[in-house]
Symmetry: C2
Subunit: 194 residues, 2 copies
Amino acid sequence: MPPEALTPERILEATEDVLRRYGPAKATVVDVARALGVSHGSVYRHFRTKAALREAVTDRWLERSVGQLATITATAGQPAPVKLRRWLSALFDAKRKKAGDDPELFATYGVLIEENSGVVDEHLRELTGQLREIIEEGVRAGQFAVEDTAVAAQAVFDATARFHDPCHAAEWRSPTIGDEFTAVSDLLLNGLRA
Amino acid sequence: MPPEALTPERILEATEDVLRRYGPAKATVVDVARALGVSHGSVYRHFRTKAALREAVTDRWLERSVGQLATITATAGQPAPVKLRRWLSALFDAKRKKAGDDPELFATYGVLIEENSGVVDEHLRELTGQLREIIEEGVRAGQFAVEDTAVAAQAVFDATARFHDPCHAAEWRSPTIGDEFTAVSDLLLNGLRA
């Protein structure tokens, strides 16, 4: 059986495993190469530095957690208020699921996120950009009254920080968190409406 | 000169100094007694356990950071929307000042806050209680339209978590944080208005 081709995706998968196993402080590129049965030179051919590898694995993790949101944003024929609520729920659900399903990996990525602020900023820009699109749709349809859609998008994102920022992950296990999320969403939707 | 009387307040002040100096993991009641030049028995006469002492010092810290808010809440003859905005600004300013003035002590209290969830819950109940009072005033004056003032108060508090929860302290140094706070406040005030 010929060895499987060494793709960036396989390296990133192995990196995630290694990070989970050894923790972000101890995991090395040599560990990743060993897990794949290749030389560390082969890994460096795809990711030129350890920092680049860690950045790429962080980017992949962030993208994976929000893949559904772009689909919601792009859905046609749905009123903007409904879409905005769906989008906020999907973001909260995705984050909560990640934190609950594999808390160790979640904590690991917490450390990586601190290290890779450039990747995180890009991720946040993408998310607030989607929010802005939805708010613009609502303004065009006369459902929302907003002076500056970029400011409004940032405000909605900031006002829901408790429901997506990993620093609040422990609160997501509270039995009342769902109701609290709904109350904040109601208030924000009310604040945007024309 | 007779020795100064050993009051709970003096013990709490010394405890804060000791916590700042040794860190919450290492600080002991013996350190506090030594700093005051008394026996640890004298300290225990006021605070029966180390846990009780740490709880009391946490409570004092939390109260100190929000003393002004009760005054704002009780001010007569001010429209509720103005009062609510003042209250939210005062909370954000108080937290930001604490985090910025003495980051080491702020981090120390971060650890104590994790330990003393009962004291923190009581503190949060007090704050949301004040928010509820202001919202009720606004409803009575026909300025706010809200179905359930307790739910609305919690929603306003949760939606401003980024501007008062210590887990966001690093973000408070951003040059745009003031504008972001204003945008969230505007959106929430708009969401409450009748």
